[in-house]
């Protein structure tokens, strides 16, 4: 085994590890930001695999698309989610499975368990309230006595306010979440079923791949300068598909813009404010203004 083969082997190991660990981390971490970064790492690993497979252009295309795409997606997550930093779940490690604990806490092993917290002040107190609430919830599940529960819930609400006001600003939705710890988790209650199903799919695919006789592998090595060939093909043989993709992107842009426009569906409660603001336009003020101007000019 010469040096080049070793280098290829090491590169394959690194890229495959990056792809798989990134995907696993994306699926299991409690911090949404971190989950996006993990998915980006996974895609960069897959891009590295493409480059190892002599498709340099595709690897770079993959990396370019998904750096931008994942960063924008992270932006949206941070805007929409209750707890993009995963700080609430980080305070209650008992609710996570070991692998989730590894990907959400193994990366931040400092004893202060809320490093992703975005609140500007009193991190410590909200953290303590979280922990206290969690302990209460574990010991006496639903039949907690009112007094202790009330104080703790108050603290919980305060913690929510902190998260909400700094991360996404929808406190009205979160204020009444005191008793439902599962709702703060990023995963649904069918998580075990999903995990077993995914494991079954993975094992089935692995078994099929390993038991199947090998594909007929062509021996020749592709031309490393594939950009020219791909471009030629895109413009000759696959012209229709290329134009179709362009049209699809155009439609996607139109669809996204029309969906995200604010001045439709005026009856929706979320739109009450902009619509109300639009209903008192300035003609009342601009009406007398010309007359005043005329009076001044004449």
């Amino acid at each position: 085994m010469n040096v080049e083969q070793t280098a290829v082997l090491v590169a394959f190991g690194l890229c495959a590890f990056l792809a798989l660990a990134g995907a696993l981390g994306m699926a299991t971490t409690m911090s949404m930001f971190r989950s996006g970064i993990f998915l980006m790492a996974s895609f960069i690993g897959v891009g590295g695999l493409f480059i190892l497979l002599a498709a340099d252009l595709m690897g770079l295309l993959q990396i370019m698309m998904y750096i931008g795409g994942m960063l924008v997606m992270i932006l949206f997550m941070v805007l929409f989610m209750h707890d993009p930093g995963g700080s609430m779940m980080a305070g209650m490690p008992d609710m996570m499975s070991p692998i989730e604990r590894f990907f959400s806490r193994g990366l931040q092993p400092e004893p202060e368990p809320e490093p992703d917290e975005k609140a500007d002040d009193d991190t410590g107190s909200s953290l303590k309230e979280d922990a206290g609430h969690d302990a209460m919830n574990r010991d006496e599940m639903d039949h907690a006595d009112k007094a202790a529960g009330h104080g703790s819930h108050g603290g919980m609400d305060h913690a929510h306010m902190d998260h909400g006001s700094t991360s996404c600003g929808d406190m009205d939705k979160m204020g009444d979440m005191g008793g439902m710890d599962m709702d703060m988790s990023m995963v649904t209650p069918v998580r075990p079923v999903a995990a077993w199903g995914a494991a079954a799919i993975g094992i089935g695919l692995f078994a099929l791949l390993l038991l199947r006789p090998d594909w007929p592998v062509a021996g020749q090595h592709p031309n490393p300068d594939s950009a020219r060939a791909v471009g030629m093909m895109l413009m000759h043989k696959y012209m229709i598909a290329f134009e179709g993709a362009g049209f699809l992107i155009l439609l996607g842009i139109f669809g996204a813009v029309f969906l995200a426009r604010t001045n439709q569906h005026a009856e929706a409660p979320g739109r009450a404010l902009p619509v109300a603001r639009r209903e008192d336009p300035p003609p009342a003020e601009s009406g007398p203004a010309p007359g005043h101007e005329e009076g001044k000019w004449s």
């Binding site: 699926a27 595709m58 990023m186 649904t188 996204a256």
Partner: protein, 103 residues
């Protein structure tokens, strides 16, 4: 040729399984979109691996990947726009608060 085709396919299969888990288990719509991206990517890895090992002189596999990435990008854009709409209506993008959408 030190890395066999099966190694790439195994990586792709594992990515696919993780993507399935993400789509089923995650509760926020953004995370489900990310799981779908992962599924598309596993398919793309398969395409490129087969292109490289089975028919490296025909570049159709790479064209297919370009299409795949395009579709993924458009899906993400439209998905995020729908999510923006849902958030404006309900202040929430957790998919289990939209259960009345079924049938």
């Amino acid at each position: 040729m030190t890395i066999p085709l099966t190694a790439y396919l195994l990586v792709s299969a594992a990515l696919f399984a993780i993507g399935v888990y993400t789509v089923v288990a995650q509760r926020s719509a953004v995370m489900i979109l990310m799981g779908i991206e992962l599924l598309l990517n596993a398919a793309g890895l398969n395409v490129i691996a087969f292109w490289r090992f089975v028919q490296p002189d025909d570049y159709s596999g790479q064209i297919f990947l370009i299409m795949l990435v395009t579709v993924g990008a458009v899906e993400m854009a439209v998905g995020l726009a729908i999510m923006l709409l849902l958030y404006r209506q309900r202040k929430d993008v957790q998919v289990d608060s939209y259960t009345e959408l079924k049938g």
